[in-house]
């Protein structure tokens, strides 16, 4: 740059002073003043921001800023505000019996939504996203309930679990007829044929007839003389179309031989009472509730 300012004659504007290819010069046009002022204002703003807000990392943490702003606190406040907004509904759900909750459209809609979210988080891994279940994990949409499908029954199962570690757990045990040598393989096959026959499955008539006698002796005490099960003992109804482990002869033989039974954890203590009630309402609303 030379000391003397080089002025372009055509425009009257200053040039950068550099010449390309003998005669090409570049005009030195400053940025518009408003632009520069905005730029400086932004720099000032940034300095103020560093002072007022959390900005710089330090070895052990970060500068906190004079306003004491924290995104975590904002989230905590928003969550607190949200639960305060839900407070009235949650308090009502906590105090009212399930039957009254189901009668109140606002409460049941709220409980249903809360239950849906809690279900996806806690229950879906075993029972499936749509509560459709899987082999060994009951389908919660159908009308067949091992421990009862009334709202209060569902809530009790949720709270204490099935074969869980909770003291008040629901518990039942199918004997291991094969493994414990209570019945031999042929007898087990015969009983399985009988069980299939009472739910309208294909039958080997002779085997089923032999199985009927064994059933009366060994199984009827829990499953009932008619095979329709007993809710209070968690003994499944064997005459319907719903099979926890499948309705093939092999699945039934395996159940009799090994005495299968799944475990449902107790959710009391893990989930708060309002969420448990909401889950009961949601599961009841899936269509199978009694």
């Amino acid at each position: 740059m030379s000391d003397r300012r080089d002025i372009d004659q055509v425009t009257g504007a200053e040039t950068t002073g550099h010449v390309w290819d003998d005669d090409i010069k570049e005009l030195n046009k400053p940025l518009p003043r408003w632009w520069l002022l905005t730029f400086y204002a932004c720099i000032l703003w940034a300095v103020g921001y560093w002072i007022a807000y959390p900005a710089w990392p330090t070895l052990t943490g970060y500068t906190k800023g004079t306003l004491g702003y924290s995104q975590r606190q904002v989230v905590a406040r928003e969550v607190a505000a949200a639960s305060e907004a839900q407070g009235g509904l949650r308090a009502q759900i906590a105090s009212l019996p399930l039957a009254d909750i189901l009668k109140n459209p606002d409460l049941s809609r709220f409980a249903d939504a809360a239950g849906r979210a809690a279900f996806a988080e806690n229950c879906a891994p075993c029972h499936g996203r749509g509560a459709q279940g899987a082999s060994g994990y009951p389908n919660l949409r159908d009308d067949d309930w091992l421990w009862g499908g009334k709202p209060e029954d569902i809530l009790q199962t949720l709270r204490y679990g099935i074969r869980s570690e909770h003291k008040q757990t629901r518990v039942s045990q199918m004997p291991r007829f094969g493994l414990d040598n209570l019945l031999d393989d042929k007898q087990i096959f015969d009983v399985a044929e009988y069980v299939l026959s009472i739910s309208g499955g294909t039958i080997a008539k002779d085997a089923a007839a032999r199985g009927a006698l064994i059933f009366k002796e060994q199984c009827a005490v829990c499953h009932g003389d008619d095979g329709k099960g007993k809710l209070e003992q968690g003994a499944p109804n064997l005459t319907d179309q719903i099979w926890l482990y499948g309705n093939t002869i092999d699945a039934i033989v395996t159940s009799i031989r090994t005495g299968r039974g799944g475990v449902m954890p107790a959710w009391e203590g893990r989930l708060d009472p309002v969420t448990l009630k909401a889950l009961a309402v949601y599961v009841h609303s899936l269509g199978g509730g009694q």
């Binding site: 055509v10 459209p105 049941s108 996203r129 749509g130 459709q132 159908d142 609303s285 269509g287």
Partner: protein
Amino acid sequence: MCCGGLIIVSAPSPAAGERKIVATVLDRRLDPKAEPGLGLPRHDVEAVNRKADRELFAKRQPIYPKRAHGAFRTVKWIVMAATLAIYYALPWVRWHRGPDLPDQAVLLDMANNRFFFFFLEIWPQEFYYVTGLLVLAALALFLATALAGRVWCGYACPQTVWTDLMIAIEHFWQGDRNARMRLDKEPWGAAKIAKKGITHLSWMAVGLLTGGALVFYFRDAPTLARELTSGTAPTIAYLFLAIFAATTYLLGGIAREQVCIYMCPWPRIQGAMTDSHTLLVAYKGERGEPRGHAHKGTDGRVDWSNRGDCIDCKACVVVCPTGIDIRDGSQLECIQCALCVDACNDIMDKIARPRGLIGYDTIARSEADARGKHETIKPVRPRTLLYAGLFSLVGAIMLVAWSNRALLEVNVLPDRVPPFVTLSDGSVRNSYTVKILNKRHERRSFQISLRDLSGARLSILGASDAAMSEVTVATDELREVRLFITLPPGQLRALGSAAHAVTLVATDQGDGTQSARHTIFQMPTPKP
């Protein structure tokens, strides 16, 4: 046309080192320094945005528009009064819609997802009606522009209306053009601070009123007015009030013509809508030139025979709110407010020449005049027919769409996980989420029934009686219900396919209106 006739070529002239400008301007002055004569004052002014002086980057120069008087100024006052009155008063107009709905005639109810416009009401999913209205507005603008140029810009555009209002306020406190120019040149003192201060405060007050009126469109006006004054209104209301107050003050009070010249895209676009038969505010050069001082002859009369009617008094320049000289021809900067027409007519009356040296005319007519021929104004031509036709077409589509607007809608969402459930007796059940939209302003009850699936049983969650399937939907609301369809084993075997199309029908218990929705019923693949 898009550059509005801005033809400046700045070419280097190495020898002289001077700026040479090649521009097409109608400047054939008899004597540029001469007075207009006939006892009329000549305004000491140069058009700040004079065509010949325009650069690609222009530093803003202040414009001090003188107040015009005449027919077009009156029209502009009336349009200003009408548009401002509509804007400020509309939120306060009431419209009864029944007990459960807002009674504000025009309300954009964001909180409840409804737009109300007198007897019209739209739901968010019907926003295409707004799209249609915007298309109609655009086509109406095209048609108006094709017929009479930038009438929107000149009279009805909010930027024009508010700028006009701000200039009127400035005029009220500081006086007309000359007084304002004197004031600006004065050194700062108590009087100047007072006059300038009260002008800016008045502009800010207008801004606050404008922003204040805007928020009333989004929330019940009387309620919000109470909330605003007591400081309990929602933060968003204050925010938008502040934004609109600030932009009104900045755009109308401070930026003014800069918005039209630099910020607005419409001046660039509108050139495509005008043609040689469009009425435009124009200076009739053939009649006006050569312009210049008017000498009184010995008989005390001016000899107009060898000269134009323009006495170069620049009355047209001083009234111009965008600071141009209309005698330079059609220009991008010209918002066609026609104030120069008033100013020139006033002068023509004084010098006893016919009015209309500046006036609405078409390019075709001026060209015909120049050749000594006559040409009529042609409002009906292919372009205007096309715009009018499109406007009618879109309008008709909108009308048909609106008159067929369903006041009852049913949406059905079948559960996908799982698609079906087998029950203990072997029957199969599908679950659905059914949404019923009641767009009527009354509570309605619907019976939901099933077509196409004989033997199936319908039930609704929460209904005390399984057979009962009546659903009540509140006024202007959406109701969501869970619905189950159960098909007994006997019917399953009869159907013999894995999926079956079914139709759910909602029937209004009051007047029998029906809305049907197709969905699907799924079941296990039948065993061979």
